[in-house]
Amino acid sequence: MSLLELKNVYKIYGELHALDDVNLKVEKGEWVSIMGPSGSGKSTMMNIIGCMDKPTKGEVLLDGVDISKESSKSLTTIRRDKIGLIFQQFHLVNYLTAVENVMLAQYYHSIPDEKEALEALERVGLADRAKHLPSQLSGGEQQRVCVARALINYPEIVLADEPTGNLDEANEEIVVDLFHKLHDDGTTLIVVTHDPEVAEVAQRQLVLRNGKIAKEVVNQNFTGKIRFTDQ
């Protein structure tokens, strides 16, 4: 059984078909990237997979459960327990320190544990910045805090929406490197991106156009290693 399966999924806003009969399977531990121009339905798909929105039609099976039929409260529980979210704008709470931002996800999941949160920051190379406020961190550092927050509850899927969209090349490399590490650890990754270089390093690339999956490319050269060398 696939970890995630979309069956004939539609998302319709009036006349607009943001998603139009989308079918997709993602296996456990897989790294999938989703590309496409603006308005192609990437974010809509991300919201539906991330349990933040429901499809107009179709089924979305996450771990065998059809989340399209769940209540808003159940979706919150599923999101809390199974999904880690990484945003382009980072969305850190600006009055909490880096470690507190990580603990925030723990707080809404179970019990905040500062030691564990510090370990998560250590994994993303920010142990020494734990007590800093977001305003005292660079964009790359903020995104790494966001990654640590997404990982702290050991989610089954990590959804990243344009994770490198606001980063310079050096920080982009660090974040993609983190994704490799996550993948090596068996985390399922779905990355929405405009950046072909970021998309290429995934095991499988999907290209969305007008709400449909227009192209699917399997990366034959996928090594699970860091790809940014001499680009």
Partner: protein, 428 residues
């Protein structure tokens, strides 16, 4: 973690929180001031209204019946109250509500040049030392405070050694050509006497044609020693309600519980009832015009204060509503993020409500003390005395602040519940 988030918000948004606290403080201060004054105003307004005279009249039972049947004055009935019973008025359950009283003995005396004049004996500033230890200066000097002293002075029972002093009305003084220091000779049924005019007053009524002397002096004129024909009582009363009206007609028609409630409330009728119990063969009745005016003024004053309190609280609720809604709008991304990472609506609502309620507690406490200060200003400027702190104001203000804050938070919480993470995190 919850505490860190609350602390973070309170410190980060301190300007907005200060505004919320200020709004709540304003509402709470007005509520506290109005409630303090309102709960104290009964006594204050009553004290003010005491300048309009006595509100209870006590006469002998026989005189009351005669008066009721033939509309004649008490002194014509031949029935009298005993002077020795006067002290009993201050032994009733509502003794501390009796602020003043004075007995009267009226004698029709003959003047030298022919004609008659009413000589009224009474207390002027009679010092009473009660067995309870309470001391009181009672008499017409305070009960008839509207009398305009044209010349001379009030009789002073405590310092005057001469009991032959008299106060005469302007009409009589004019008719007989009396001035301060003049002598006036009168003849009663038992004795005759010569008084020295000590003061001339203008009462604006029948009293202007009468002579006022000390009680014993008037009694001696007709051989009525130890007898008084009426007593005027000034008492602090609670405005009548349906129970008081029913009790006034027939206290026996009340149930035991109703009787106890009526007896233990300072209605004019219950104070009258207790005076009748204390003074044998007497009938005490409220002077309706004064008692009704007191009740009406008190009710209107309290209604005005309730309206001001309600309006101020509505204003505070609207202010809180705007500020909290603006705060939630500003923090929509943060709230959307919390929901995205697994916060339920209840958790986020609890966070926002806790922040607002901590602010409300601070504002409420500040407002309460400010309000108590306002109450003192009102007390001193309007009533010339301090407003006492009634403990019940504290829980009432606390409940009002809670209700107003809750109402003020409703639109913000509704907005917060409707907020979807996708809308704020992706701008959709």
């Amino acid at each position: 973690m919850f505490g860190r988030m609350i602390r973070g918000t309170l410190f980060r948004q301190w300007k907005k929180m200060l505004m919320i606290a200020f709004t709540i403080a304003l509402g709470a201060s007005l509520a506290a001031a109005m409630l303090s004054v309102m709960l104290d105003v009964g006594d204050k307004v009553n004290q003010e209204l005491k300048t309009y005279g006595a509100n209870i009249k006590v006469v002998p039972k026989a005189a009351s019946v005669l008066s009721g049947l033939y509309e004649v004055e008490g002194d014509q009935s031949g029935a009298y109250l005993k002077e020795e019973d006067l002290g009993k008025i201050k032994t009733i359950f509502w003794t501390f509500n009796i602020v003043d009283y004075a007995p009267f003995t009226t004698v029709n005396a003959e003047l030298d040049g022919g004609g008659t004049v009413k000589v009224v004996g009474s207390w002027f500033n009679h010092h009473i030392a009660l067995p309870t230890g309470e001391e009181l200066d009672a008499g017409i000097q305070s009960l008839r405070s509207w009398w305009d002293l044209k010349s001379g002075s009030w009789l002073n029972e405590q310092t005057d050694t001469d009991t032959k002093g008299a106060m005469v009305g302007t009409e009589l003084a004019e008719r007989l050509g009396l001035t301060v220091g003049s002598s006036i000779h009168v003849k009663g049924r038992a004795a005759e006497d010569t008084y020295t005019v000590r003061g001339i007053y203008d009462a604006g009524g029948d009293e202007d044609g009468q002579i006022y002397v000390q009680l014993n002096t008037a009694q001696a004129l007709d051989g009525l020693e130890g007898k008084v024909d009426s007593i005027d009582v000034s008492a602090l009363t609670t405005p009548d309600n349906e129970l008081a009206e029913r009790a006034a007609k027939d206290p026996k028609s009340l149930t035991v519980a109703q009787y106890e409630l009526w007896y233990c409330t300072a209605y004019a009728s219950s104070i009258c009832w207790q005076i009748q119990e204390a003074i044998p063969d007497s009938i005490a009745s409220p002077v309706r015009q004064v008692a009704d005016s007191e009740g009406e003024i008190l009710n209107k004053t309290q209604l005005l204060m309730i309206l001001i309190t309600i309006l101020s609280l509505i204003g505070a609720a609207l202010g809180i509503c705007n500020l909290v809604t603006a705060s939630v709008m500003e923090r929509s991304q943060e709230i959307g993020l919390m929901k995205a990472i697994g916060a339920y609506n209840g958790s986020v609502s609890l966070l926002v409500l806790t922040e607002v309620f901590i602010t409300a507690v601070i504002g409420g406490i500040a407002g309460f003390f400010a309000g108590f200060g306002f109450a003192q200003i009102i007390g001193h400027s309007v009533f010339g005395s301090a407003i006492s702190l009634r403990p019940m104001v504290i829980p009432i203000v606390a409940v009002l602040v809670f209700i107003v804050t809750m109402i003020g938070c409703i639109p913000a919480i509704r907005m917060l519940l409707r907020l979807r993470p996708t809308e704020v995190l992706h701008g959709k």
